[in-house]
């Protein structure tokens, strides 16, 4: 069994440094297992988040050797043996302690989105939707809110424009509402003016990191941008669509 070296950020927003830890790795281990092992053996107060340990809850996001990843789904054998493993908290958000960052900004974005508003039920009391009409919405609803896409998006990460753009996670949330067959609310003006759809310049980086393989850019952001364009720059086309479906 091999020993591996981990460099882990210890500290908070104001001060801190990378500490080095060496532990034994056994077969099948993921990075989260290694963090837990370090807690037990070397640093009991090392802070990290996790819940499901199966890629389902989106709690355990960190940056591993520079890439935002779920630590519970990153196998140790996917990191070349000659490399150390460097783990730091998600860059765009304030660090609370060690690997834990303050992601409350994301919860605030969600609250700003106009909630689902259903049309009335059919006469027999049912809502009818067909599978082919909801496949796309279900793709978006697979989101586990890991915020890896929020972390990689350069608008948020490098330009620090959090006040201007909700970020990819909430663009798909908006898309899941706008494309919901039962929803009757209109969010297009807000998508342009408040949620900042124009800030995205379609780099696809968010799609590349999504652990749920949601095609964020192509299936959600581009169609939303198109709807905005139709509405604001081609109102005739928009009216036609509204009338003739």
């Amino acid at each position: 069994m091999a020993k591996r070296t981990f460099n882990i950020w210890r500290g908070d927003n104001s001060k801190g440094k990378f500490e080095s830890y060496e532990i034994e790795i056994s077969p099948g281990m993921v990075v989260l297992d290694a963090i837990h092992k370090i807690q037990v053996e070397l640093a009991p107060d090392l802070a990290c988040r996790w819940n499901c340990k199966a890629g389902k809850c989106g709690s355990c996001s960190v940056e591993i050797n520079g890439f935002p990843k779920l630590s519970c789904m990153t196998r140790m054998n996917s990191i070349p043996e000659e490399n150390d493993v460097t783990i730091r908290p998600l860059k765009p958000f304030p660090v609370i302690k060690d690997l834990v960052s303050d992601v409350s900004w994301n919860y605030e974005q969600n609250k700003k989105i106009a909630p689902f508003k259903p049309k009335p039920r059919d006469a027999d009391g049912n809502h009818r939707m067909y599978q082919e009409d909801i496949d796309r919405v279900q793709e978006f609803r697979k989101c586990i809110e890991c915020y890896l896409c929020q972390t990689i998006c350069h608008v948020i990460r490098d330009q620090g424009q959090k006040e201007k753009f909700v970020g990819p996670r909430f663009m798909i949330r908006l898309a899941s509402l706008e494309m919901h067959p039962l929803d009757v609310a209109d969010r297009i003006p807000a998508i342009k003016n408040d949620h900042g759809s124009g800030m995205c310049n379609i780099t696809h980086c968010c799609t590349d990191v999504c652990p749920e393989h949601i095609r964020i850019t192509d299936n959600a952001i581009i169609p939303l941008k198109e709807r905005v364009v139709d509405r604001y720059y081609d109102p005739i086309l928009w009216l036609k669509r509204k009338i003739f479906g």
Partner: protein, 615 residues
Amino acid sequence: MTDFSDIQTIEHDIIIIGAGGAGLRAAIECSAQGKNSGVVCKSLLGKAHTVMAEGGMAASLGNADPRDHWKIHFRDTMRGGKFLNQWRMAEIHAKEAPERVNELEEWGAVFDRTKSGLINQRNFGGHRYPRLAHVGDRTGLELIRTLQDHGIHQGFDVHMECTALTLLKDGDNISGVLAYWRDSGRFVLFKCKAVILATGGAGKAWHVTSNSWEYTGDGLAMGYNAGAELMDIEFVQFHPTGMVWPPSVKGTLVTEGVRGDGGILLNNKNERFMFDYIPEKFAAETADSEEESNRWLNGDTGARRPPELLTRDVVARAITTEVKEGRGSPHGGVFLDIASRVPAELIKKKLPSMYHQFKELAEVDITKEPMEVGPTTHYFMGGLRVDHETQETAVPGLFACGECAAGLHGANRLGGNSLSDLIVFGKLAGTGASQYVDSLSKSLAINQEQVATGIREATSILNRESGKNPYLIHDDLQTVMGNYAGIVRTEDDLKKGLTELARIKKDIEQVKAPGASQFNPGWNEALDLSSLMIVSEAVTMAALERKESRGGHSRLDYPGEDSEGLKYNVIVSKGENGMEVRREPRDTPPQELSRIANASIDDLEAEVVRERNNG
């Protein structure tokens, strides 16, 4: 006495502890009833255990098979629970689940559809018809996200990453909660008139478990300490199919949906062994040949269900026996094969998260090879004893719902009956607590002495000069529970277990967490240990008391069900001199419900048809 003026104080009418399906549904109801309420949860919003649920939620919508009816759902639930369920709870659950599921759609949930555009339903163990509303194999995510996205606009506050430590009482009544913020490690005092516990189970008392770090039984322990009773706590569900390899994921759940969608269990001789384990009571409703099972899978409504879909207790015991007798897989489980039964594309569509889970964590492609699976600690049937309509415990102002409450599932829970439990009884707890608050005439005070004790106990873990490592104590406790109070039990083992637990209790008194209180997992873990200890003791003592095997509780020294066992529920409560166990006689079942539960399936189906024709 310490001065508390500097402790942050937050006031609500109702505090809901837990933000899973049950807690969020309860909070939505409290808001609907005009109450000012706050949800307190250990993790971030949206990360509670409910998010992990896979297969679906049971409700007799009758979309996939129009023959379904609440009476048949009720009958399945009682039979699955080996008749130890609280009759009225099982009735309310079966009757109200369809409305609660439809309501989720009103709030934005997008379930998989039938061809005619309705909510689709899938087969699951113990359910007569395809009954589980689902979204692929991520139904829990759909449930929690729907409640979360709807809930944030209903006006209740969410206090995230805040752990409740102790319930505070003014005389007999609940008057508040002492808690601490994970990030700062500071204490916070919630003043309130009622508390709803929705804290889930305690699977973390065992090593091999499908549960996350949150499942340390805090709600059970807080309720117990406040004077509420624990019921049926000996019944722990070991889910038959957890991953067994690699070691780091041992216990991670493999949804029953794999078997519902056609997966079969094989031993190392390639035998479909479940045919050898069909209990007499279920023989009339279970296929006795592979040929009949295949017909069922292809939709022949005349064919009976394959034995892989027997209730979880039966399948888990069968796997344990196969492994013990040397017919297991290389890593100590059995094989679960869907690759040879269902086309690869369909597997990826219906079970996407299982596909990824195995591919990424075990390097197994489930569309090409069988999985290796074995039993894993999964669910607490038992919990806080509540009134079936109001969900109130024996403590005035203390309510409970979801997995931490007892009664609906009896000795064994059917898959899919938990998610529906959460929304049905979450709502009722919200109503119950609101009504209680309305009826309360006296004003309540916080007892400073109780707060002081709570804080002293919590901080002593940090302040101690030296002491035991909390992680190692937890590990020790898990080993003890696995060895002595696991899937099969004996009097000797359980007694040994109690002795060992007494030893570990001393260690817990000496536990030391180094570092400061800010986001300190070592300290958090140490604090959870006392809850785990109470629950572990309760399980072991209740298991000793029930001298028969029934559902999730298997005694090697008392094999088989004993009709005496139906006459009581085991109750655990806090007495003058520590934990007390007693047998509480069960009321005679309501006549009509007893008739339905005991009817033959053919008679009941005919009755439902008659009713529909007349109505």
